[in-house]
Amino acid sequence: MLIAALVWIIQDMLQVGAMGYMLVPDLFLMIVIYRVLTGEFSQASVSWWIWGAFVGGMIWDLRWAVSPGMSAVVNATVVYVAYLIWSRTPSGGRSPVLFALIAIAGNVISGLAHYLIWAVPSQAALRMFFAQQFFSIPLLIILFIRYVVVLRRGEKSV
């Protein structure tokens, strides 16, 4: 949870720097998804992460958005859906590709929600949305590689 909080602060600081140019990628949500899918996969742990994502989204809304609560709801839902997909996938099917797809989908859904809430979708807003997705790629790659490493370590220990 501490790492997620630190990532939230980093995301906030990046948004300060990028204000007026672009929306920064939802690093916090991606880290939360990563922790949910690769950490202790218990119902209590996932429930904590749902509320963690909720609080992170709420504070983000109060700092940057115009409709407080929206990111909180989106974050909690993305984490829940990610958990649902992961929990219903057999262990053998929990591949790095599936993990990457879930992380990408979470990021796209979060960005899309912010884009649609602007009510008047303009070319500039669309450009910001795509820029946000583009700049998410490095973190997605890092998380993907990290997951592959974690997976291989697990296989070796078995």
Binding site: L14, G17, Q43, R63, S67, G69, M70, V73, S87, W118
Partner: protein, 261 residues
């Protein structure tokens, strides 16, 4: 397994419920929403300070590189104009008015996308002598005025806001009008006589309206005209400031407040 899934489901549903209630509550009570936003922003301002300093350094460096020569030229023009006016005042034996305020630099800390042309927030407030009604300038042009203040922040209503109304004067003809925005980036000079002809490039500045707002602050220049209505022709004004990209502003604070500090 069913119990485990249910626990997560229950927590998710509870989070949804709380989130939707908060969305409804904050939507129904914008004053509370704004107070909460200001509170969170103030709390985070300490964490964000390094990032803000870096951004400021970046913009200062860029401004220094790009705008140094133009600012020097403008400064020379203003100094010349100031000297000429002082000479004229001395010749007319009129007393030179004392300065009523000074400009304080402030960084823009928030500008909501859907309020882009209406308002922005700066990092200076009543602690720094910023009062409601004070004009905000960028690039030497008035871009708005302070409408709400906190101790460490202030909200500025932009000239492009449809709720912005300000008495202004056409410098070349001395015609009075009212500056009004349209919420989409346009600035209009309203209520000037229909029979008057204004040419492109005529400068517009503030008229004397109150203690907080000195007359003569540049607002922009005439660049076109709109459709006649109710006996007047709105004049389209272009601001001298880059309104789409405002990273820092200068706010006029009163001398009285400054001496208190």
């Amino acid at each position: 397994m069913a119990g485990k899934i249910n626990l997560v489901l229950v927590n998710w549903l509870a989070a949804m419920l709380v989130g939707l209630m908060m969305m409804w509550f904050f939507g129904a009570a914008p004053i509370v929403s704004r107070a909460a936003m200001d509170g969170v922003s103030s709390a985070l301002s300490y964490v964000e300070l390094p990032a803000e300093e870096l951004v400021e350094l970046f913009h200062l460096t860029r401004s220094w590189v790009l705008e140094r020569s133009s600012l020097q030229r403008r400064n020379a023009e203003l100094e010349g104009e100031n000297l000429m006016l002082r000479t004229a005042l001395a010749e007319a034996k009129a007393p030179v008015p004392a300065a009523r305020g000074d400009l304080i630099g402030a960084r823009v800390t928030l500008r909501y996308p859907d309020q882009w042309w209406r308002e922005l927030r700066i990092d200076k407030g009543t602690n720094d002598g910023v009062n409601v009604g004070a004009p905000a300038l960028a690039d030497g042009y008035m871009i708005g005025r302070v409408v709400r203040t906190g101790e460490t922040f202030a909200w500025i209503e932009l000239v492009t806001s449809s709720s912005f109304m300000l008495a202004a004067v056409v410098d070349d003809t001395w015609d009075l009008g009212v500056i009004n925005g349209d919420d989409i980036g346009g600035i209009w000079l309203m209520y000037v006589p229909q029979e008057r002809e204004y040419t492109k490039g005529m400068s517009i500045s503030t008229a004397l309206v109150g203690d907080h707002l000195p007359p003569g602050i540049p607002l922009g220049t005439v660049v076109g005209k709109g459709d006649p209505r109710d006996g007047y022709v709105p004049q389209m004004i272009a601001s001298g400031a880059r309104l789409s990209q405002i990273y820092s502003v200068q706010v006029l604070r009163s001398v009285e407040r400054r001496t208190e500090n």
